[in-house]
Symmetry: C2
Subunit: 211 residues, 2 copies
C-alpha cells in the first residue's frame, strides 16, 4: 500500500476525486495559534473534529473511507518561550493504523450526499492491547501529525487494494499530554461544547459564574 500524496484520477470515469475539510474557519483559527491535541491512555477525541465532503466519486461504485494521522516530519517538539521548536530526532513511528469509517463500504452516491464525520476517532499514547480496536489511533507525544483521508474502491474493508490518500495540511497539530499554549487552550474552551464549564465570559446562561 503506497499512499498517493496528490489528487488522483478516478479510474472508472477519469474524474478528479476531491476531499474538502469542513469547518475550515475553525481549523484556521486553531492553526494560526498552533493546534495541539491531547493524548490519554484511554483515548481522547480531537477538537476540532474531522469532517469532510467528498466529490468526484463514481456514484455506482462502492468505496471504503478511512482516516489516519500521519507524521509531518521526523522531529520531536518542545514548547519554549511561547513557540513550538524542533528538539532533536523523533521517535520511531508506530505501525500504521487506520480508522475505518463506520459506513464503509458504501456507494459513491451515499458518500457524496452529505458530510462525512470522524468525530469519534480517539488519539492515545498507550500501546496496550485494549487499544487495538477500531476507534483509537496510537501516536507519540510531542510530535507533529496531520489528518489524512484515504479512499479505496472496494467491497471489503479487510482487503484494501489501490488507495488514494489526501493529507489535510490545515489540520496539522502537535500531540501533548497537557496543553502548552494558553491561547490554544482558550480556543478549545470557547469552541468545544463539552468545555462550557470553563468559560468565564458569563454568557450562555452559566448558573454559577465564577470570578
Amino acid at each position: 500500500v503506497q499512499p498517493v500524496r496528490d489528487v488522483c484520477r478516478n479510474q472508472a470515469q477519469n474524474m478528479a476525486v476531491r476531499v474538502t475539510l469542513e469547518q475550515y474557519q475553525l481549523w484556521q483559527q486553531f492553526h494560526s495559534v498552533g493546534t495541539e491535541m491531547i493524548l490519554t491512555k484511554s483515548g481522547r477525541r480531537m477538537f476540532p473534529g474531522c469532517r469532510i465532503r467528498l466529490a468526484g466519486l463514481n456514484p455506482e461504485s462502492r468505496y471504503c473511507v478511512l482516516m489516519s494521522v500521519e507524521r509531518v516530519d521526523g522531529s520531536r517538539y518542545r514548547f519554549q518561550h511561547g513557540y513550538w521548536v524542533a528538539a532533536g530526532p523523533g521517535e520511531v513511528e508506530f505501525p500504521k493504523r487506520y480508522f475505518i469509517h463506520q459506513d464503509s463500504p458504501a456507494t459513491g452516491e451515499k458518500w457524496m450526499k452529505s458530510a462525512v464525520s470522524f468525530h469519534k476517532v480517539k488519539l492515545t499514547n498507550s500501546n496496550s492491547s485494549s487499544n487495538f480496536i477500531n476507534g483509537k489511533l496510537i501516536v507519540h507525544s510531542m510530535h507533529r501529525y496531520c489528518i489524512c483521508i484515504h479512499i479505496v474502491e472496494s467491497n471489503d474493508p479487510a482487503h484494501l487494494n489501490y488507495m488514494q490518500s489526501f493529507p489535510l495540511p490545515l489540520t496539522t497539530f502537535v500531540t501533548v499530554t497537557a496543553y502548552q499554549n494558553t491561547e490554544l487552550t482558550k480556543l478549545k474552551i470557547e469552541n468545544n461544547p463539552f468545555a462550557k464549564g470553563f468559560r468565564e465570559d458569563g454568557a450562555r446562561g452559566t448558573k454559577n459564574p465564577r470570578r
Copy 2:
C-alpha cells in the same frame, strides 16, 4: 419477499439456522404479566431489548440480519378490569419496515461469534418523514406485536432476496402510549437501569431515598 415462519435449512450446507433469544428469564417475567411497550413521536426504545444468538450459518457466507415487529392478530386491544381484551378490529397495517443491523453485511462466522443486539431500535406511532430513517419502526398503539428476526444471505442490504424469518413469540407485547398495568410498570422500573430514579427499595445507593 415471503417470510418463512419456521426454522429453515441453510441451502449451502443443509444446516438448520437457529435464532435464540437472550435474557430469556427477563422476557419471561414480562410475558407473565403482559409485556407493554411505550410509543412516542420521537421514538422509544424497547425494554427488554432484543438480543439474540445465531447458529447454523455458513461461516464463510455473508449475511444481513434484520429485525421487525409483526402483528400477531387483527384486533385492537383495551386494558379493562386488569386484563388485556380484544376490542374490535385492528387498524390497517403500516407498510412493512425493517431495522437492518448495523454490522450487515458480515460473515456467518462473525454473526455467530457473539450475541447480536438490537437495543437501538425505537418504536414510534408517528408516520412523519423524519422517521424514515433506519432505527425507527412504525406501529399502531393498542395492538399486539412480536419481534421477528430475518436473515438474508446477501452482500447488499439494499437487495434482499430469499429471506428466512424467525418470530420470537416470547417477546409478544401490546403497544401503548402510557403504561396500563401497574405490575408491568414495576417490572420496568426494577430492571431498566435508566429508570433507577423511580426505584423505592432504597437499595443500590440511592442518595435521597424517598418514602
